[in-house]
Amino acid sequence: MLTGVPAAVFYILAGMILGSAVMVVSLKNVFHSALFLVLTLFGVAGIYILLSAEFLAAVQVLIYVGAITILMIFAIMLTAKLYNAKIKQANEQVIPGIIIVAALLVATIFTLTRTAWKVSDQAAAVESTVGIGRLLLTKYVLPFEVVSVVLLTALIGAIVIARRD
């Protein structure tokens, strides 16, 4: 439970995240959307810190912001025709979409606030970084290796797909 200043920080971060997210999905200019995405991702990193997941926050910034978003901006630049486009970005599914999302949200939030989560008051035994490192190399070493292979595959696949021939 957070109270006081951390709580306020949470609300500020939450506002930032959600505001930026809304911007991401609604701006006409896709480059601006990408920038707001960066903002969102930063906000999420801040949330991670509030949740005592420091390592994850670092990873988030490094990879998401540093790599993925840059990648997206590259792609945007490469498909530059739309860089300045003033075309309407939203298609005809807006209203049905709103309805669906609203319904989903109502249902989900309704459920999760009613549920009695088994919250425990224990404190973490070690720091998250230490703990994660340990787990990754003992219990979850297989998924770790598999993920590496996945990355490799993705890499090769992307090259193959985007090859000009």
């Binding site: 999905v25 990648l71 997206m72 025709k81 973490a124």
Partner: protein, 102 residues
């Protein structure tokens, strides 16, 4: 008092916004960005649960790491495809990519 449910609510709303983006964006990259939002929402969920329900274990965070990794892979391949689409359709307006129909 910010508790677990607040984080979960935040995650849910973010997820909803992500869905909205997937359904409505015309630009293919815009759709990919919306999917990233959804990933992030899920990650927040994982970590929140990890912190509040099993503080001594970091399984949730490990999952979140994996999610990030996979998201990266997916973004790579997705953007490669977008490039292809751009080449073939002379634009990335997904409205035009409708040949998988009757």
């Amino acid at each position: 008092m910010v508790g677990l449910s607040h984080y979960l609510t935040l995650s849910a709303i973010l997820f909803g916004i992500g869905i909205f983006g997937v359904l409505t964006r015309r630009n293919a990259i815009g759709i990919l960005m919306s999917i990233e939002l959804m990933f992030n929402a899920v990650n927040i969920n994982f970590v929140a649960f990890s912190k509040f329900v099993t503080p001594s274990e970091f399984v949730g965070q490990i999952f979140a790491i994996f999610v990030i990794t996979i998201a990266a892979a997916e973004a790579t391949v997705g953007l490669a495809i977008v490039l292809l689409i751009y080449r073939n359709f002379k634009g990335i307006n997904v409205d035009n990519v409708n040949i998988m129909k009757w």
